[in-house]
Every structure is written in C-alpha cells, then in structure tokens.
C-alpha cells in the first residue's frame, strides 16, 4: 500500500473556481440496459441500489465532450485563455479520444500505430487557445482521475505559483464492458474543473490517496476488491478529515462518487458519518460517470443551495485498479 497526503498550510489555499460538465445526448434506463444484456445484475437489483438512468454516447467522441465542457467553463467564468498556466487531462487516451463511441474499436486499434501520439490534452490546449499552458495527462487512476488532477493542480499552484489550472476528464465506459462495474451503472461524461492559486470559496483543504497495487487484477480479485473497499475507504475518509484539521462532526456534506446507494449507506455506517449528510441526488439521475461524479455533484449541490458558503465538504471516490481518494473542500 502506498499512501500520500496533502495538507493545507496557508490561509490562501488553492480553490475550485469553476466546474462544467457535459453529457452525451443519448441515455438509457436501467431496464432498457438490462433488456439489452448490458447489465450483469438484474434491473431490480440496480434500481434497489439507487440507479435509474445513465448517459450513453453514440455519435459523440470523448474529445468532443471534453472540449465542450472546457469551453463552457471558460465562457461561463469569463476566463482569458492566456491566463491558464496548466492543463491536466485525464480520460480516454490517444486516438481513442477522437473516435465516436460506435467507432471505439477503430480508435483503440489506433493506439498500436503512430496515432497513439495524437494526444487529446495537447489538442485541447490548441483548440481552446491556452497558449501559456503546459499540459500533461494523468492515467490509470480510473474514477479517481479528476480528484487526482485537482490535487496535483493544487500542489503545483502552491509550489510553482501557477495561477490557473484546467483539469479535464472525459471517460467513456469501454464499449465491450456492458454498463455495469461491480454493481454500479456507468455513464459517459466529460467534466472540467478550474483550480486557482488562491480563492476565498471552495478551498481545497486536504487530499488523501491510497493505492493498493495488489488489486491490479480487477477481474481475478473481484471478491477481494469488494472486501477491501470498505475498510480502506473508511481509512481515507478519516485521514482526509483529520488532515483538513476537522473532526467527524465538522463534516457538513459528503459528495460521493455515484456508486450504489447501498454501498454508501454501509460506508457511512462504518465511517460514522450520518447518512443524512450524503448528497445522493445524482445517483438516480446520472449513474456513475467514472471520473466526473464528485465535481458534477459538487456543482449541482452548490447550485441547489444545499451547500452553503463555509460548509465543510468531503469528496470521495474509488478507482478500479485500485485507488481510494478523498478531498476536503471548504465551500
């Protein structure tokens, strides 16, 4: 197990300055997916876990959604593209990012050719006119990708004085993997998050990640992963809270990744966090959008008025393969 933690030490901490997200046009109900043989569990089981509908890309490519989410964010916040110093891209890699969902196989084949070096992050930098930004991508972090990107951006804002960093994820569930990942219904989506070096609102107080490489074999160790999920998640939640200088009672909201309600109820019980503080409205509406869940949910919870300024919010996600990440935000 490798564990790393980032703790805020200054009053002017890096903060989330904006969030934007885009879903593909198509969507499917749990029952439709079950009828199409895309679920391993029954529709009734998935519904009892809180899922109702997911977003499914057909004609769109991951890159198109990523570009759209990032462009919307810059426009909405009236950000000068030249002020962005860093782009962190996470999600569908290389040539696959430019293939529509129906052409995913062809896009994947491109990874074995020179099209592997057609990087969506670089193209984002060009298409958005981010002339002063350097870019890199994060990979192999699955559903913790965007939390990790935000954490890295936070660190680089502090250590290198970067004023603005744009984190973008765009992840489509693998075309031949159905729509279920360990009892969770998956969605396709892109999400963009703007991190600024200082901010009075939405400060990134702390972040904790635990990686357990033993669980790299996600099919062979499926039962072991289910068993390890809860205690490790509890540890990460508690560590993130402690590193933020909070106590369990200080946490006003938990912004989850959109996995089954049942697993969140169990985790809340284990972590001694009240179920009432879980913001779960989007599980039924959107399903599990892989890397985007936490920030999509955070924006929606802010817009709904449920999260108020100054409240203490805990974001948590688990990434297949296997990473557990928590981020503490002061709204």
């Amino acid at each position: 197990m490798a564990r790393s933690t980032t703790t805020g030490t200054t009053p002017n901490l890096p903060a989330i300055a904006g969030i934007s997200y885009v879903f593909p046009e198509g969507s499917r109900t749990v029952r439709q997916m079950a009828d199409d043989g895309l679920l391993q569990s029954s529709a009734e089981t998935m519904e009892s876990f809180g899922f109702a509908r997911v977003h499914v890309a057909v004609a769109e490519s991951p890159y198109e959604l990523a570009l759209s989410a990032a462009r919307d964010l810059l426009a909405e916040k009236d950000i000068d593209p030249a002020s962005i110093g860093l782009v962190i891209y996470g999600g569908t890699p290389g040539s696959m990012a430019f293939a529509s969902a129906t052409d995913a196989a062809e896009g994947a084949a491109g990874l074995c050719t020179s099209r592997r070096f057609m990087y969506p992050g670089a193209r984002l930098q060009y298409d958005l006119g981010l002339s002063n930004a350097w870019m890199f991508a994060v990979d192999q972090l699955a559903c913790t990708t965007l939390l990790a990107a935000a954490r890295i951006a936070r660190s680089l804002c502090i250590t290198e004085g970067i004023e603005r960093a744009l984190c973008v994820s765009s992840e489509f569930f693998p075309a031949k993997a159905g729509r279920e990942a360990i009892f969770n219904c998956t969605s396709d989506a892109a999400c963009a998050v703007l991190i600024e070096r200082t901010g009075a609102r939405n400060q990134l107080r702390s972040a904790t990640t635990v990686t357990k490489g033993y669980y790299w074999d996600v099919d062979g160790l499926r039962d072991e992963i289910v068993a390890s999920y809860f205690p490790t998640a509890r540890h990460v939640l508690h560590q993130t809270i402690a590193d933020a200088g909070w106590s369990l009672d200080d946490v006003d909201w938990i912004i989850p990744h959109n996995v089954s309600m049942r697993s969140w109820e169990i985790l809340a019980g284990l972590a001694q966090l009240p179920r009432a503080r879980l913001w779960t409205d989007n599980i039924a509406r959107h399903g599990h959008t892989l890397a985007g869940d936490n920030f999509i949910n955070y924006r929606d919870a802010l817009e709904s008025g449920e999260i108020e300024p100054g409240q203490r919010v805990l974001l948590f996600s688990y990434g297949f393969g296997a990473h557990w990440t928590g981020v503490a935000v002061e709204a």
Partner: protein, 364 residues
Amino acid sequence: MTQTILVTGATGLIGGGVLQRMLEADADLTANVLVRDELRWKRDLHRWGALGSRITAVSGDVRVPGMGIESGTRSRIVDEVSTIVHAAANTRFSQALEEARLSNTVGTSNVLELASQCRALTRFAFVSTAFVSGRATGMVPERDNGAEAGWVNSYEQAKYEAECLVRSSGTSWVIFRPTTIVCRGADGVVTQVNGVHRALRIYHRGLAAMMPGARENMFDVITGDYVCDAIATLAFDEKAAGRTVHLCSGKCAPRVGDLLDTAYDVWEQDGEWKRRGLSRAILTDLATYAMFERAVIDTGDARLKSLISSLSHFVPQLALPKQFDTSAADELLAFAPPPVSEYWGRMLENLIATGWGVADEVAA
C-alpha cells in the same frame, strides 16, 4: 469397584479426549463407545494403544430410535453402565434447524431414554455449549438461561433444547458448557477445524474485512485439554450433580480487538502476505454489517455469497457482549483454564503452518 461407562461422540474432539483421560485415570474402568462406523473404529483402534483393550465399540446412531443398538448389546449396557458421557453432536453452525435438532435434540432424547433404563446409572454427563445463551448479553449464569434472547444459529438452539430435556430427565445429570475450543492446549496445535478457524481464514485471504462487534467486547475461547480435563474430573464428582458448569475463560476472556490485532500481527510476519496491503478487519455495528451481508446476497456473486453466508452463522456473536460466569468451575475444579495469550498466537501460527488444516500428527 469396576465402573463401566458409555460415551457418545468418542470419535470427536471432546468425547475422545474425555474417554482417554477417564481410562488413564482408572485402570479398572471399562468403556462402551457408540460408533456409527464400526469398521472405521476398528481401523483406528491402534491410536488408543493399550487403552483400546478396555473399550468396546457399540454400533449405533443417536439420531435413530433406540439409538439403533442391537437388543442384546442394549441389555448388557442397561445392566452394566453407571455413567454416560453424551458428547455426540453436530456442531455445524449453518445447518437447518431440523437437521440440528435431529442430531442434538432428538439424539439427546434417545440417549436419555437409554439412560432411564440403566439400572446402575449414577451420572448423566451432557456436553452442551456455552452458546446456548444465544443472543443474550451481559453476565451469563450457569443455569437455564431461557429462550427469550433467541439464538445466532441452529446449533445453539438445538443444544438449548437438549439441555431442557436433560434438566427434566430425572437422571443425576451434570451439564458441561464449553466455549469455543480453538486448539488442543498451550502448544496451540489445532486438532479440529471449526467455525472460528474458517472465519479467520476468510479474513486472512482478504475476502472479508469487516465484522460486527466492538473491540472491547469479550470473546471467550478455550483449549480442548482444559475442557476434557474438566469433564473427566467432574463427570464422577458427586458435588457436580445437578450443576451446570461453564468451561470457559470467563472473566479472563480476551477482547475481540486484542485477538484481531494478534492475528494480523502474526500474519504480517509473512512478508509476502504483508506486501499485499490487506486492510485489517474493522468492527462495526450489527445494522451496518447486516447491510453489507444483504448487499452481497442481492448481488449474487456465488463465492462471496457463500463466504459471507458462512460467517453469518458465527460472527454476530462478536457483537453480543457477554461474559460467561465460571463460578461452578472455579468451585469444583482444582485447576484453572490457561491464559488465552499463551496459545492464541501459537494457534494462528499452527494454522498457517498446516495450510489451515489440522496438525499432521492428528490427521495421520
């Protein structure tokens, strides 16, 4: 005067251990042992060495009316036997209630029926379990604890019902209630794998990582040697007549948290195991654990479902804090149970060394 005894369950851990001690303690003692498979008994008779010459195998089965004993043999037993040690049981926690009752309740009824006919009978020694107290919490006294609390599994219930039969039988009874036996003695050698060992193996493999309970709850375990020594001593003791005797660690029982810590400390001595970074099991309330169980059952993953189901017949006891009163054992016995700290770690090491089986010397 020559004594003749009848032992049921003599091929088991307790019945066999008690029989051996009784024979060793009294050179004039002769024994009848009820066996379901007489050929197998004869094949294994060499294990008894010279003691085997004083043992007579009686073919039968406690589960059938009259115990299936041939009439001539039954007449001889009725004439000769002065003490019965009834240790036969089906200890599988996951069995259906009717199955558990057949072996443990109906079986006891059939042995009591034979006992009622034994002309020279002076003692009926019944091997029960401390967990007849089921879901009861707090101090568990050495008496009929009632049925109000309910039980965690069918074995506990069937044994409770058997105790009721013994108490009302009119025989001169003594009820022994061992807690969970985890190894033979202070050497930590495991001679019979049970639910505790199987549960530990599941946690060692990283297939479960939570359990109900609290770190400070007591979890009572004991050695087979202590239980067998106690029964062999008290079965003939007049002062034990009509008594219920907990054969437990009692007030010296360890805390669940300490037992778990020791287990993970032992497992972490294996560098390859430690490298996996498996989480130590966390303890939670019964409601949260039940949600986890339910989620696994609903998802229908066959292996995980089977493993979690096997735990469900045992681990809820960890969330039911209790202490077994050992006043009777303290009063009647001249020896005390060994400290759990002496053998728990060794037991864990032996489980690893034997590949989670029993020690070679016993299995041979």
